[in-house]
Symmetry: C2
Subunit: 340 residues, 2 copies
């Protein structure tokens, strides 16, 4: 361990491989990087030397010389991280990570609080990553809006403001999903359909309300049964209580996510009403809450892992200079269970 000249544990360098294979370092580099202009024999010799030495390229050196980092940042605002346990988010991360694992890129997870947004931005702009994936529910957060102008960036979820116009993003079609869910309730014969939607500064909350309105309007139904939650089970429970306290007849409910639907279940049951007989319920997200609820919840399935995968795929294309659509919309699917 203290010998200066020999350290059997030293990580082999490209130089060592070159020596063993009897070629120059440049040639080894070519083989490692898959250059076509190398004789098959030489390639084989180098490959063998690499295997014999158990050689692994040093990322730092490679990055320094090539000006490419092979790193992409996955930025999760801390506010989002707090709802990290939200299966939807976890799945996005999972999808992105899985997809990236198929490439040469490494995933650098960055959790950034609002205070650190500046530091994060500098880090991203400082040439430490080749691209970034930005995940957030929060549209209030414009911290990274302009990042896309100088670094390949893909946003998850619709950008909040027009400031993010030029940016790339992938999202699920919330409006269509919500409209479909509402249509389903109407098709089931419900007419007094309420909605518990999310905060209106979040695209998901806003768009799902829009979808509900669209369907209600198409059928000439009353749009007054609206309450707001914050996507938590508790807020759903309270919103449902307010809805019931209004005294108006309600025979259908569309909740903007399954967690709030689960909360609504509690209030409905407490009121002595039954699902779906008295009130048919449709949720959104298709997470565990819906699956384990009693009765199992009819809900809108979102391709959450697919969202992460698609974000990664779009970013990789972007970084390689391939043309990609600025907007990628993923379809939702209604999963009918026993709550409707």
């Amino acid at each position: 361990m203290t010998s200066e000249k020999l350290d059997s544990h030293a990580v082999p360098t490209l130089e060592a491989v070159a020596a063993l294979a009897g070629v120059s370092r440049a040639t080894v580099s070519r083989v490692v990087n898959g250059s076509t202009k190398v004789t098959p024999e030489v390639t084989e010799a180098v490959t063998k030397a690499i295997a014999d030495l158990n050689y692994v390229p040093n990322r730092a050196a490679r990055s320094l010389a090539s000006k490419r980092t092979q790193v992409v940042a996955l930025v999760v605002p801390e506010s989002t991280a707090k709802v990290f346990a939200d299966p939807f988010f976890a799945s996005i991360v999972q999808g992105a990570a899985l997809q990236l694992a198929e490439t040469e890129y490494t995933l650098n997870m960055v959790i950034s609080s609002e205070f650190k947004a500046d530091k994060t931005r500098r880090y991203l702009m400082g040439g430490n990553v080749d691209g970034a994936l930005i995940v957030s529910h929060h549209s209030g957060d414009h911290s990274y809006a302009h990042l896309g102008q100088s670094l390949p960036v893909v946003f998850g979820g619709r950008p909040v403001s027009d400031a993010e116009q030029g940016s790339y993003f992938v999202d699920v079609d919330n409006v269509a999903g919500a409209a479909g869910a509402t249509e389903h309730l109407i098709a089931r014969g419900r007419r007094n359909i309420a909605i518990i939607t999310g905060p209106q500064d979040m695209p998901a909350g806003l768009d799902r309300l829009t979808g509900w309105r669209r369907a209600m309007e198409a059928h000439g139904l009353d749009q007054s049964l609206i309450e707001y939650g914050d996507f938590s089970p508790t807020s759903g429970r309270e919103a449902m209580k307010r809805l019931l306290d209004r005294g108006a007849p309600i025979d259908g409910l569309f909740a903007a996510n399954d967690q709030m639907a689960a909360g609504a279940y509690a209030s409905i049951h407490e009121a002595g009403l039954s699902i779906p007989e008295d009130i048919a319920v449709v949720g959104y997200d298709d997470d565990y809450f819906g699956l384990t609820a009693t009765p199992p919840l009819t809900t809108v399935h979102q391709p959450s892992i697919g969202l992460g995968e698609t974000m990664a795929r779009v970013l990789v294309k972007l970084m390689s200079g391939t043309a990609v659509d600025r907007v990628t919309m993923l379809p939702t699917e209604l999963v009918v269970r026993q709550s409707t």
Copy 2:
């Protein structure tokens, strides 16, 4: 963009800072790295230059020169990633990420399938990271057992085999938690207490069964009501069904996680039995399943975010050469709700 000498968008280098501050690069480097041997005046001048130029050190260059990467890998076996939506895992990742965000280390998320375990191991050993956090439920997976001998590594969860003896790990005290849960059922007057535990090749499954046995034995109760699940809601439902089909009296149930407890709820209700009147139920994990269940589930709370945080903290100490205990056990806490 094509001008060779001037590029206003170029990322400033340490050299530029040195020039602006009128000092050598070495001095700038010292300031950046917090060396004490720099005059306050000089420090200030350099600091100002850094701010003016919006300088960010290049990680690759720094790493290449210093032989330190400032990167820690968070290795998530793919089999585990599939249950990534498991809130417990998501929280561990979150905790680790949050804790690391407080340090100079960057979190490199690695999802490794069994096929790629070799590639991952080489990556980790290839000098690309300063340390690794390895998260897994699966004890069958010994891929990374010996990694700790040549790289600072902290495992999440008890190591499966003795092969991992010398390694560092942090875990929650599953045996104590399970025993406590069972004791609680006994204190509630239950005597025919069943258990739905997890796979016996996973420490969590094994240890929770051990805890249950310990409590049952201490009170001289019969230990025959054992069924196995795979931690999924469905498996819990089926296991409960098998338990009920036995025809033996059951007045208490300890499920090795909340997801299985939620599944068991379904079977109990289907059998026309009520909770907790007929069967009192205790789960494990304290996740959303338990909170939203009807009735709300009494369960064993695990400090999941704390587990991730602690893992990160232990690793950082390890990397800095500070002495740390090989084993860190985190306490659990029984959360009593209406299911008991």
